[in-house]
Amino acid sequence: MTAGWLVVAGATTGVAAGAVGAALPRRWRFTSAALLVWLACAFEAAAAVHVMATGRHIVLHSATLIPITGVDIELNQLGALFVLLVAGVAIPATLHGIGYARHGLDSRLAAGTFPLFVTCLLLVPAAGSVATFMGLWELMALTSLVLVLINHGRSEATRSAATWYAVFTHGGAVLILVAWLILTAHTKGQTFPELSAHARELAPAVRGLVFLLALVGFGSKAGVVPFHVWLPKAHPEAPSPVSALMSGAMVALGVYGIILVGDVVLGRGPSWWWLTVLVLGAGSALFGSIHAASSTDMKRLLAYSTTDNIGLALIALGASGFFESTRHPLLAALALVASLTLILNHAAFKAALFLSAGSVQVATGSRDLDQLGGLLRRMPQTGTLFLVSAAAIAALPPLNGFVGEWLLFQSLLHGAAIGSTAGDVAIPLALSAMALTAGLTVVAFVKAAGIGFLGRPRSVGADDAVEVAVTMRLAVGLLAGACVVLGVVPFLVLPAVERAAGVALPGLTRAPVSRGVELQLVGLRGLLAPAAVAGGLVVAVGAVVGLRRVLARRPAPNVAEAWGCGRQFQTARMQYTAVSFAEPVQRVFDDVLRPVQDLDVSHAAESRYFVESLTFHNSVDDAVERWLYERIIRAARRWGQAARLLQPGSVHRYLAYGLGAVVVVFASLAVVR
């Protein structure tokens, strides 16, 4: 209770930051708002650390702040982990925003909304009742929608993206609200502890319905296939600091919602719930990684990769629930720790990647990989940081992606032998899906780093690129540094993750991973010493470089041009492009991607044997969008057209409707009386 003022101070500071951002003149607007946002993050993070350290929940109640429902704050360790995650993403994203502001974040609206968005993100995991949660959740959705729309004047794509996002986020919110309402209808109170105390008394079918509604609702926020369609549209169009917050933090809160409803409030359930989560996760991981491997727009690639990473986290979450329902608490705890670790790691490297994509866009004016190239030489620091983050997301040791995927692999490998029929089918499939995903992620990020940063510039913008402002580099550097720290010394954060997992698994008594310098699975066979791996790599690389320098008495290096098949001169167009790099993937996964390819050949007038021009068009749209949502939209449009028969615009007809209705009412009254 004593630490409660930290949460209040954080919220107040956040709102004040919004007011400052909206009020000050353009020059100081974003910077002063950013200072207050950092203060808000610091307050909330301090509250979260307090909860983590003492284990005492922060509980606040105010009946007067909002009439009728009141405001309830309850910050437990699970929420605290997510508050820390949001603060960890928001601080660098805001720092990046200071440099980025001139490119579309320094309008009154943007500088006022951005702090509010961060504040909502910080407060959602601290919400303690249905009304508070839904209020903050909707505010978060609305503020992020405004920020997606900030550059609405720039292109039609932005408006379309915002429409898709609005539909999905509000559709999801409706489902979540229905789920909460079903729960509150059966209990007296509306705070989460009250709900969870009564949730066990509900009929299994009702509990199942609540879980499914929440899964779809939160899944649409988390970018789970098939509710992911808004992600590859909204993420590229939003300003990069906003995309980083949306992808790193907001999407993670979708997973937080699933854990909140499934684990904390409903207290876990039958295995079919969790197998559904696992299957959705595996589908998302595969679909996201295939699309990421074939995308050529850098931010679109990152958005699909978000779907892929959230899919992995859901595989872990589903496996955890499944192990719990088959009475393997140790495996369940390990899988849950893996899930939370994956989300933490994702926040670090995805935010870093989105921010560096923003830096690239600022420096070159493009985010199309086929317009970039040669950036490592022109923007050495941004380029290096991008490479580090890309290596982290590709799960290369000794970076953090490796630790998360190692935990997930271990929990699934040990879980494959628990001897239940559903598990025997689902777990190996999840394992293979995960293996394929890991490979495709490597393809996607070799492409992003190789095509974007190596080679020669493919456009004037890329050729003229210069290093971006120091705040932007520092922001990406913080996050890339977090990737290294989380990868080399994960035992610093694993205790926090385990405490958060303990909220969702109250029966958990021992930590599933030992807290030493090396990670040792408790009760299972499995050992990883990330620091030793990192040290070994550094020593090995150093030894090879050193030995080469000492031993090899090489003649002076012979400078020659790169081999280009003997052509007289080489241009940037002779390089591998992102499309050609992705072509094999596109060919193999033809059935999933369903690319649209057109080749127009126009022949010379004199003879058909001479070609005048060739036009090749290749586009990879989202198959789910085309096959599911466009049909839904067409059906809705048909219904709308049908409704126009009743509403043709004629006032006489409307008056006739009114008269007819009155006549019918009177006639029926006369008959009934």
């Binding site: 020659a560 041009e561 081999w563 098949c565 003997g566 052509r567 007289q568």
Partner: protein, 155 residues
């Protein structure tokens, strides 16, 4: 399988080799070759294809065609050097790591043959890059090509 049985072995017997001192000692035993068509009529190409085919099978003797001069020890150049191919030939030569040798295949490569003095021809291969081994003939017989290669690989 039956066809395989009926045809039996088609490869020419490996005879003795005349010239055994053609190349540098580093290339003895294994010779990676990049073929460069500097303007040939494709007659020599047919014979090269045949020299590396199942009948003459030059790979028996350690010679192998590769896809890039970066992987090659030797350039197998055919045809008179045309204006368009002069620079690419030099670039290919420069891209080949040392020790390297150049083998001029056919009369055109040796002295421009029937294309001598033609307007599009810069000259023979020897006028553009230093030639180490020449193979005469228009086109040369596959056995001549194989013999020349064996002179370098000494197998």
């Amino acid at each position: 399988m039956r066809a395989l049985w009926r045809v039996r072995r088609v490869t020419e017997p490996a005879g003795g080799v005349a010239d055994r001192d053609a190349g540098p000692p580093e290339l003895v035993g294994s010779l990676q070759i990049r073929h460069v068509d500097a303007g040939s009529c494709n007659g020599c190409e047919l014979e090269i294809a045949s020299a590396f085919g199942p009948v003459y099978d030059a790979e028996r003797f350690g010679a192998r065609l590769v896809a890039s001069p970066r992987h090659a020890d030797a350039l197998l150049v055919t045809g008179p050097v045309t204006r368009n191919m002069a620079v690419p030939l030099v670039k290919t030569f420069e891209a080949t790591p040392e020790p390297r040798i150049v083998i001029a295949v056919g009369d055109c490569a040796r002295d421009c043959g029937v294309f001598h003095g033609a307007y599009g021809v810069v000259g023979a291969v020897g006028d553009v890059v230093p030639v180490d081994v020449s193979i005469a003939g228009c086109p040369p017989d596959p056995t001549a090509i194989v013999d020349a290669l064996r002179g370098i690989t000494r197998r």
